[in-house]
């Protein structure tokens, strides 16, 4: 009964007790506000009854013009406690009159049941929250892991960087010491020869003294010989004595003491440009920091630039000459090598073997800029130059520098100073072609991770259609370009799954056009078809047969065998195209057939296998069964010497191109390992490289080079 009455006192729109009930002409009642108000159509001034849908006109006063429903009002006015006893309020939710208690977290006054529902609602909410939190929590723990990993990686890379710095500074120190030694030796030589000269002079003078003295003696004895015994001194004798004496007298009068040491030279050491040298040393090497992407594992021993900085300018040794006696003055120019080698280096004339000869008085005009030198070593390039005669009138003072001297010079290498300057180069047709290298044809790429950009490009390969395939190592992907540098396709991303890479290094193409990659930090090889679709992978970290440890260069032969430089295992492994292990050869060492950090590999047409044995600074050649054939190269910067050689490639005739990364140049050799020519230098301009990695050859003989620190590909 109560409920039914309550129902009659409920507005059908808001389902609440009537507030200001208004009765419509159709006799239905609704609250004035907000219920009836919302139903009103102010435009047409009509209201449609929700119950019967009758349309009424709104009175001129508005909604409030409708009459109040007095009956309902009276019912509403009945005191709540009168009709419904117990003196308690209505629950704010269910409107039932029961015991009310206040909800403890919000100001609602609710009956028992509603409060329970309310609380349980709260509980459910909390349940949801907790489950959500649980779901999201792993993110944080992952972040923690990530941070830890990053810390370790950063520590590692920091250590590596320190090692780099140490080794490069050590190198420079070594060079300085060598230089010192050389200079000291020269001084010794000089001293020797001067002292010899002086000694000769001394002897001569002594002889003269003795002879004059004896003449005086005899003259005196002769003239003092008067009567007693002895032979009478003849007139002729007297005359000759007189004459002799006169001669000696003239001679003596003409000589001044000082003239005896007239033509002696002293040696003086000046350290040219010491200011710049010191400032160079002070600013030697740079450390660049970049955003550390942990997943990229970019711990790269070559990431510090100091190793590829040019070596400091070596001091100049100048000899100040007091007089010139017709002997060629040794004017040494130790120029800092590598710095200014022009790309067209190869066009130098063949150097002449020879020794210094005093007879060459006419200098052959061969104007050579003192700073440019070909095939420069980092140690010394010695030139002997004729100085146009500086006469006796020269002052004795030391010459401060040699830049004021003009001379035409020609190069005559001194054997004891320069190591390997004097190969006479035979000509051959392809050699001429290679000799003209040094100018680039195309270059493309710059640092970045967008398409067409690279971050540390490493291996390169040329496909049968002459597309250029680049292992974009720290972007963990392979990019394929046309020979003019247009992007054709890209595939790969970071990860360990199929088609994913982690700092891939080497890449090669087999005769079918399939792309074989060395997925370095995943210690595996992945094979894709020419469209970049994953075909298969093989390999896992380890040192057993078929296992790889930081594989670097890959190559294939015409039979489809895959050769992998298993760098940290210091060996080469051979696999079939389906991934089956075939053989391995090599182990750590520096003997024949041993490797230390073999980086890249190439297979010639005749199935000879060429490996860049990086830390041994040499190239080794094997037959297809892994039997050692030959090796060439040693540590250094001269022709045929390497510093951490990397990329290798071989052309149809068997010429071997080596990316001599530590010397920032490419060197070409014949099949037998004899040096052919070299080109390239350090820098970021055209034809200059920083950090040579992979090398490949196109069918037309262009050399494709991965210029790692410049993040680009250059084609010579």
């Amino acid at each position: 009964m109560e409920q039914q009455i309550e129902q009659l006192l409920t507005c059908p729109v808001c389902l609440d007790r009537y507030k200001k009930p208004k009765i419509l002409p159709c006799q239905h009642t609704f609250c004035q506000e907000p219920c009836l108000q919302q139903l009103a159509d102010p435009v047409r001034r009509k209201v449609k009854c929700p119950e019967c849908r009758a349309v009424h006109n709104i009175p001129p006063k508005g909604i409030s013009g409708f009459p109040n429903n007095i009956t309902i009002l009276k019912f509403l006015d009945l005191p709540a406690d009168a009709t419904f006893s117990s003196g308690s309020e209505t629950c704010q939710v269910c409107r039932r009159i029961t015991a009310i208690s206040k909800c403890f977290h919000c100001p609602k006054r609710l009956c028992e049941t509603c409060r329970k529902a309310h609380t349980s609602q709260l509980k459910t909410d909390i349940g949801h929250q907790t489950s959500q939190l649980w779901r999201e929590l792993p993110k944080l723990s992952e972040a923690v892991n990530l941070v830890e990993k990053t810390a370790t990686h950063i520590k590692q890379s920091g250590e590596m960087v320190k090692l780099d710095i140490k080794s490069s500074i050590d190198q420079n120190i070594r060079k300085l010491r060598e230089r010192e030694q050389i200079l000291l030796n020269e001084v010794d030589l000089f001293l020797q020869s001067e002292l010899r000269l002086l000694k000769v002079k001394q002897e001569n003078l002594e002889v003269e003294v003795a002879s004059i003295a004896s003449h005086c003696d005899s003259a005196e004895s002769r003239i003092s010989q008067a009567s007693p015994s002895g032979v009478a001194v003849t007139d002729a004798e007297l005359l000759s004595l007189h004459k002799q004496g006169k001669e000696y007298l003239v001679q003596l009068q003409n000589t001044t003491i000082d003239a005896a040491v007239d033509d002696c030279k002293t040696i003086k050491f000046t350290l040219q440009n010491s200011q710049t040298l010191h400032s160079n040393i002070a600013t030697l090497g740079e450390l660049s920091s970049s955003a550390f992407i942990i997943n990229a594992n970019t711990v790269n021993p070559n990431s510090v630039n100091s190793s590829s900085n040019p070596p400091p300018r070596n001091p100049r040794l100048s000899l100040s000459n007091e007089a010139f006696r017709g002997l060629p003055v040794v004017e040494m120019f130790r120029t800092s090598s590598q710095l200014r080698t022009s790309p067209s280096v190869v066009r130098q004339s063949p150097s002449v073997t020879g020794s210094v000869s005093p007879q060459q008085a006419s200098p052959r005009p061969n104007p050579v800029h003192p700073n440019s030198n070909s095939n420069s070593n980092s140690n010394t390039v010695g030139r002997v130059s004729h100085i146009s005669t500086v006469g006796r009138t020269e002052q004795n003072r030391a010459r401060p520098g040699n830049s004021s001297l003009e001379f035409t010079s020609y190069e005559v290498p001194l054997d004891d100073l320069v190591s390997d300057f004097s190969h006479v180069q035979r000509r051959s047709p392809t050699s001429a072609f290679y000799r003209s290298k040094g100018l680039i044809q195309t270059k493309f790429g710059s640092k970045g991770s967008d398409l067409g950009h690279f971050t540390w490009p490493r291996g390169v390969a040329v496909s049968p259609e002459n597309y250029i395939i680049v292992a974009d190592s720290s972007n963990h992907r392979v990019q394929v370009f046309t020979p003019s540098g247009q992007l054709v396709r890209v595939f790969g991303s970071y990860g360990t799954g199929e088609g994913e890479f982690d700092c891939l290094a080497g890449v090669t193409v087999n005769s079918q056009g399939w792309i074989v990659t060395a997925d370095r930090y995943n210690h595996r090889v992945q094979i894709f078809d020419s469209n970049g679709r994953f075909i298969r992978q093989f390999g896992q970290e380890g040192s057993r047969d078929g296992q790889l440890s930081y594989p670097w260069g890959v190559a294939t032969d015409r039979m489809g065998f895959i050769y992998v430089c298993d760098k940290d295992n210091h060996r080469v492994q051979v696999f079939r195209l389906d991934g089956a292990f075939v053989r391995k050869f090599g182990r750590l060492g520096n003997g024949n057939g041993q490797f230390e950090n073999p980086h890249y590999i190439a297979v010639a047409r005749d199935n000879r296998v060429i490996v860049s044995d990086s830390s041994n600074h040499r190239i080794q050649v094997f037959d297809k069964y892994g039997r050692f054939l030959l090796k060439f190269g040693s540590e250094g910067s001269g022709n045929g010497q390497f510093k951490y050689p990397r990329g290798v490639a071989v052309d149809q005739e068997g010429h071997i191109i080596v990316g001599d990364s530590g010397n920032n140049r490419l060197q070409l050799f014949r099949q037998d390992g004899s040096f052919l020519c070299a080109f390239g230098s350090w820098g970021s301009g055209d034809g200059e490289v920083k950090g040579l990695e992979g090398v490949a050859l196109t069918s037309r003989g262009n050399v494709v080079v991965s210029d790692r620190e410049n993040h680009r590909i250059q084609i010579f």
Binding site: V13, L15, Q38, P50, E51, R53, V93
Partner: protein, 152 residues
């Protein structure tokens, strides 16, 4: 909670929970109090008998001035319900009144299942079938009920 739920909705929800409509089960969604998961039993004596049809019901911002939005989630062969589950019912459109409530809407829908109206169709081909070959249509409706509205 969004701009606190109007009293009316709370009240209706309460009532639906405390006094459910027979054959109809309407439960508000845990995360959205304006969203209801509804189960309607196929009315007896209808081809939908025995099936349980899921519907979703949403109370828009201006409810009760605007009608709730209702949709069939279970596939049903009915001339007034299209393949997306939209319902052709006048009170859900122009004949809506704030005096109507959720329970009345759901009851109406249940009534619609009992009495399909092919002359005011939403799904044309189904309505066509119903008019051309009613018994066949009824058979199809029964088949669909078996297929979709009964948990096997």
């Amino acid at each position: 909670m969004m701009s606190s739920l109007p009293r009316r909705i709370i009240k209706e929800t309460q009532r639906l929970t405390n006094e459910p409509v027979p054959g109809i089960n309407a439960v508000p969604d845990e995360q959205n109090a304006r969203y209801f998961h509804v189960d309607v039993m196929g009315p007896s004596e209808s081809p939908f008998e025995g099936g349980t049809f899921k519907l979703e019901l949403f109370l828009p911002e201006d409810y009760p001035m605007a009608p709730p939005k209702v949709r069939f989630m279970t596939k049903i062969y009915h001339p007034n319900i299209d393949k997306l589950g939209r319902i052709c019912l006048d009170i859900l459109k122009d004949k809506w009144s704030p005096a109507l409530q959720i329970r009345t809407v759901l009851l109406s829908i249940q009534a619609l299942l009992s009495a399909p109206n092919p002359d005011d169709p939403l799904a044309n081909d189904v309505a066509e079938q119903w008019k051309v070959n009613e018994s066949h249509a009824i058979e199809t409706a029964k088949a669909w009920t078996r297929l979709y509205a009964m948990k096997s």
